[in-house]
Symmetry: C3
Subunit: 274 residues, 3 copies
Amino acid sequence: MIERIIENVRSNTPLIHCITNYVTVNDVANVLLACGASPIMADDINEAAEITSICSGLDINIGTLNTRTIEAMIKAGKKANELGHITVLDPVGAGASKLRTDTAFELLKEIRFSVIRGNISEIKSLYQGSSTSNGVDANVSDRITEANLEETISFAKELSKKTKAVIAITGAIDIIADENKAYVIQNGHPIMSKITGTGCMLTGIIAAYCAANPSQILEATKAAVICEGLAGEKAYEKMQATNGYTSTFRMYLIDYIGEMTDQMIREGMKVEIR
Amino acid sequence: MIERIIENVRSNTPLIHCITNYVTVNDVANVLLACGASPIMADDINEAAEITSICSGLDINIGTLNTRTIEAMIKAGKKANELGHITVLDPVGAGASKLRTDTAFELLKEIRFSVIRGNISEIKSLYQGSSTSNGVDANVSDRITEANLEETISFAKELSKKTKAVIAITGAIDIIADENKAYVIQNGHPIMSKITGTGCMLTGIIAAYCAANPSQILEATKAAVICEGLAGEKAYEKMQATNGYTSTFRMYLIDYIGEMTDQMIREGMKVEIR
Amino acid sequence: MIERIIENVRSNTPLIHCITNYVTVNDVANVLLACGASPIMADDINEAAEITSICSGLDINIGTLNTRTIEAMIKAGKKANELGHITVLDPVGAGASKLRTDTAFELLKEIRFSVIRGNISEIKSLYQGSSTSNGVDANVSDRITEANLEETISFAKELSKKTKAVIAITGAIDIIADENKAYVIQNGHPIMSKITGTGCMLTGIIAAYCAANPSQILEATKAAVICEGLAGEKAYEKMQATNGYTSTFRMYLIDYIGEMTDQMIREGMKVEIR
């Protein structure tokens, strides 16, 4: 199934409208191109809805919020909903400031999202409305472990039920859930947290995978998470072989996302259904 | 002649003022430094004209437009015209939204450009005033082929006559034209469309090449297009030799733009005069 | 001592709030992660003070100024001062436009900085209030040489006395001074000026090193400058070994900043006390 999902991205070249932060925007654009999609970044309220109309997916990322772009996010989101497009939310730093938390809630109120992807602290903020985030990284106290895995899965399913969105909580252990079913994925490598943008890139890939496979949101999200995780494992190996470190790793990560094959996935994926 | 043009960039270190999008701005800065120029990015209306004054070239790119920066573009462009500086327009996504198309027309009305560089769909939008763009990539139906080459050359010459700017239409086949003469260039590699920024970088390089060779705009633009195309070919070879993919390619592309030699150009350029 | 300083960054993971330019912001984020810190970029006035509160260091960089973010810089800076946090100023292009020079002065008036880092032209602008900058690069006429070294050290000490900040003037020869003591550092490689962001990245690293070593600002700044300089030397060697150029160099530079060891520093640092 993952084979078909990836192939659909490459053959359909979904156009993805990104209203995203200026820190990792170049990585998001490059990773969208690498996986077979086509990115367009447009954050002005005077074109947001129009640009969304020509796309099949919308990626909203609140990593560097400002008042000007919040309005554009809402306008684009409403238009995407109207047209039945894929919409993905990345609530970067929700919980770290009132502006981010409030904006995330406003976006959830105004827009129906197909998928919400964040780290555990960000996703908890959306659920609890309280501030638990440690900047843009997950709080150590929040981290998903074998001990709290069951509880976190239940929480993800419940949040999915509440929001009607597939919930992707990513970190060392990833949970991808709708209200009935959850996948636990253990691909990836710790070095992924030593570069910026792995989360933002994943959100972009999810938007592309879902836009090319709109009837299989849960499966497409799972495939995207496995793809980036495996690319991280491959990139780490190649980084070691070439005596590089984090910046070399980042280059190979994007390379491998583009090169991902069915065989790599069949041989490398570490997924459980819960 | 290309030898002298490239050498002038390296020896004059032209200072290029860029009002450009936040997606590829880092690549544009790095490629300007690589080719021997010096970039300065400044998009606030309170400094746009002043910054332009200390530069010799102005690169205006509408990739992530917003109301605030449109005014700065016009103010900088008028000042550059007043001082006789090189001005280059990259109408990213013209045709994809009313804001982009209208802004491109407004810029053309207010500013006299030395060079306009875009893909075929963007350039057609400037000519026709109608929306034909597929996001920021060229429409398949617009693509330049042997069959429509003559017609496209005529169109480029006519647009050059109308705008007084050298027209650079880039893609698999590139056309560089003024009202009397056109070059058809077939350097480059298809993988260049799998990374973001090859167009934006090329526009920056054109600004640098023209600013260092202001009496030879057509030839300098041709040289810049050949340089990036050849760098793309070399980068693809090295990418394959190191088993990399798109992100590795992008690194080598910028490397080779900086390393471009006369010999590479003499041996590798594929240019015809029409 | 440098050993302990670097180790404190890696073990404390200081959270650094960056209000910085959109040209090099991705490099700054990646280099902060590479050296062991954690970055958060937030430039909206509605969250600037709150984000600063959860961090231990604030990096203010005026590389792409606009009216909206200047207010956020001041609000964040005042909050950081109130909380006794590390504050670092990078006056990119001070002297190149009235907006930049005036803003730098306004920031110096409203905020007490722990460290100010710039090239010699930028730092002179802060001292003289006059425009001497050549875009964002140092003027050739300003460059530090053996002939003007003593004079420049005196000037740095005097500016430190006036501002109460450690002054870091960086270029081929670096001067790190407080009002009583100056270090002259000669690490680094000329190729560092052929990529964008080495200055911005260094300012970020200084913020991280000082935030993890708040009682040793002068020593932490010195360590950061040596670390980046040495990483530049190592990266140049590896670049040559792999037949790369500036873009390859940039990747290795970030790699080596993350990999810096005590041994590399003990063996490679070129520091004099003046």
